[in-house]
């Protein structure tokens, strides 16, 4: 009997996760389901008992859930932004990366969008936001921006999937009904190819400003208050840069993991990691520049309330988190990416950045809250099992979403790879030729 994936030719291995899942898939599935299930239980418990089951108090009214909210939404900038920018700039090395990145965005955006509801004291009244909403509140701006981004990234993920889904409908053996529905009758005719390309181009262009607006608006959540070290104009670009930074790091981590477990060494080659590693290095330096600027501006005028927050981070109880952040976001990545730029070094740097960017969100939110303007007694915030469990559940949900996606659809855009083989080289040749000076033309 013919192997199910034999029709797929030289890219057959890309369809292995769908037709030959293997034992590891089921083990991973069970583990993630267990963790996510436990997180759901913890949340239900919180829903009925109240937010008292967390470590939150007065004045640290916001902590883990909002940190994770900003963290997850920040990661969502990975996919769509990088994929869109690489496609727009016609970078040929984007081909195996685009869908991996786009999936990250959609899955993590859904998880991130859940977190404000997890953080609410009365989620059963969530509809009040729609019935009595005030657009003056940055929370409504968040709602609008995240909805728009979710829609944009889902459409932007879906459109390039259509040719691949059609391929599986025609040549594959499983889930034919699903692929028939989702492929929308795609047959590869020139007219259809043109339609998809046009749709993708419009989405590519639209997604970039939408993505920028999302994290800008999240930063406004903090910047629109008068709290010390929150009320800063640098927050909008700081958060956007931080989001792209953390997104690139998570993308690299995902790429390394996928490469290992799905044997994609021939597709996700060292050069792809090297290029993304360069982007990570640049973002790390850019992040360092913004951070330096923020803290110098705070330190110079020695305004007492701001200095209280400043010292809390520099030498106070949060010193370990603050300097840990600097080490994992700036020192280690810059050193690794400058001197040990192989996949292993890039992987370690990316893990460091992922941790460091989470610490950055923690460092932004909690110290400003703890350092109240009026001298109240404040303790040291410690998260409880509920908060940690829900955080791990969020990560498990992300892995779960990814796993399920990999089970149904190829992780690498097969048609884009094939297009690269057939047309890419000629296109690039023509492009380079167009940059070079023309032969001299005799002018009469």
């Amino acid at each position: 009997m013919k192997r199910a994936d034999e029709h797929f030719g030289e890219d057959a291995i890309l369809f292995d996760p769908i037709y030959k899942p293997g034992k590891g898939f089921y083990v991973a599935l069970s583990v993630f389901l267990a963790v996510a299930g436990f997180a759901v239980y913890l949340y239900i418990r919180q829903y009925f008992l109240g937010l008292g089951v967390t470590g939150l108090n007065r004045p640290v009214f916001w902590s883990f859930y909002i940190v994770n909210f900003v963290f997850f939404i920040g990661i969502s900038h990975a996919g769509t932004l990088i994929s869109a920018i690489l496609r727009l700039s016609k970078a040929e090395w984007r081909r195996p990366i685009t869908r991996v990145a786009e999936i990250i965005t959609v899955v993590v955006l859904l998880i991130g969008a859940l977190h404000p509801i997890i953080d609410m004291g009365r989620p059963d009244r969530a509809l009040n936001v729609f019935l009595y909403g005030r657009y003056q509140s940055p929370l409504l701006w968040d709602l609008t921006a995240i909805t728009t981004y979710l829609m944009a990234s889902t459409v932007y993920l879906y459109l390039p999937m259509i040719p691949d889904i059609a391929m599986m409908r025609d040549k594959g053996t499983k889930f034919k009904w699903l692929y028939t529905i989702l492929s929308w009758g795609y047959e590869g005719t020139p007219a259809q190819k043109h339609v998809i390309e046009k749709g993708m181009t419009i989405m590519m262009v639209m997604v970039v400003p939408i993505a920028v607006s999302v994290h800008t608006v999240i930063s406004y959540l903090f910047a629109m208050t008068v709290q010390p070290m929150w009320h800063s104009t640098i927050f909008a670009p700081y958060f956007v840069v931080g989001a792209i930074f953390s997104g690139t790091a998570v993308l690299l981590v995902v790429m390394v993991v996928l490469r290992k477990i799905y044997h994609l060494e021939t597709y996700l080659k060292e050069i792809h990691f090297k290029h993304l590693g360069t982007i990570l290095l640049v973002m790390s330096l850019l992040w360092g520049y913004f951070t330096f600027s923020e803290y110098l501006t705070t330190y110079y005028p020695q305004e007492p309330h701001e200095m209280k927050v400043f010292w809390y981070k520099f030498i106070g109880p949060y010193a370990v988190f603050f300097w840990g952040m600097v080490a994992t976001n700036l020192v280690i990545p810059v050193l690794l990416l400058s001197f040990k730029k192989d996949i292993k070094g890039i992987f370690i740097a990316s893990i460091c950045v992922s941790i460091g960017m989470w610490l950055e969100r923690l460092n932004i939110i909690v110290p400003s809250l703890v350092s109240t303007r009026l001298p109240y007694p404040t303790g040291f915030y410690v998260p409880t099992l509920t908060e940690v469990g829900i955080f791990l559940g969020g990560i498990a949900l992300f892995c779960l979403g990814y796993l399920l996606f990999a089970k149904l659809f190829p992780l690498i855009t097969v048609w884009e790879i094939q297009e690269g083989r057939e047309h890419g080289i000629k296109e690039v040749n023509d492009r380079i030729r167009s940059y070079l000076p023309d032969k001299k033309i005799d002018v009469i």
């Binding site: 937010l51 004045p59 609410m120 009595y132 909403g133 929370l139 001298p375 109240y376």
Partner: protein, 227 residues
């Protein structure tokens, strides 16, 4: 239209804490219990702030009663997504408990940290339940609350004035803290009525407000201790 304000004379305040106790009783403020209080979750609509000044041997502490500042440019109102905290009549910043979704944005935006959150469902001992004030609604779990200048007393005073066929005037109502203060350190009234005591006091050279330069425009004034 009135602009209700408070003036607290720090020369008269003995830091006895009666205002805190009476506020608790008047407004059905939840008693969270010692474990929750240790976690910094105690609710004090009227609280005291302890300012430490100077160093030994010239150290002094100043304990100041602190209700909600009732800002006329209220940061909390600006950020509420559902209009649950809003500037009501007389300039009193109110809290609509049934509408609050518990996002705690207002608690985080307040520069004076005067807002409190119900982390669990408020519960009272049997004896306290008998003493609950029927004029003040009990808050459920997961909503924000704060000092409201005893706005339920304002409602009662308005109805009384209407029944008597006259307008509401300064002196018709005062919050529980002002009423119970044994030294009369807390004055309350209409800041726009030039004949009121608060009007005269808030223009005194001893009068100041907390973080005046932040532009929140609080209606709670303090009279500096005369030295």
């Amino acid at each position: 239209m009135a602009k209700w304000g408070m003036v607290i004379d720090l020369d008269k305040c003995t830091m006895c804490g009666t205002c805190i106790a009476s506020c608790h009783i008047e407004n059905n403020v939840a008693i969270v219990g010692p474990e929750e209080a240790k976690k910094n979750r105690a609710i004090f609509w009227m609280d005291t702030i302890t300012f430490e000044e100077g160093e030994y041997p010239n150290a002094r502490i100043k304990i100041v009663p602190r209700p909600c500042m009732n800002c006329q440019s209220p940061q909390c109102t600006y950020v509420c997504p559902v209009n649950a905290t809003q500037k009501g009549e007389g300039g009193i910043i109110g809290q609509i408990y049934p509408r609050c979704i518990g996002c705690r944005y207002c608690t985080v935006a307040c520069p004076y940290t005067v807002k409190y959150f119900n982390w669990y469902k408020p519960e009272w001992e049997k004896e306290f339940k008998k003493a609950l004030n029927p004029d003040v609604s009990l808050r459920p779990r997961g909503v924000v609350e704060k000092c409201t200048f005893c706005t339920h007393r304002l409602q009662k005073a308005k109805e009384k004035a209407k029944a008597e066929g006259r307008k509401l005037i300064d002196g018709d109502y005062w919050p529980a803290c002002a009423e119970s203060c044994p030294t009369g350190a807390i004055y309350f009234g209409d800041l726009e009525d030039i004949n009121s005591k608060v009007y005269e006091l808030h223009r005194s050279p001893r009068a100041y407000r907390l973080f005046e330069d932040m532009g929140t425009d609080p209606t709670v004034y303090y009279l500096m201790e005369g030295r």
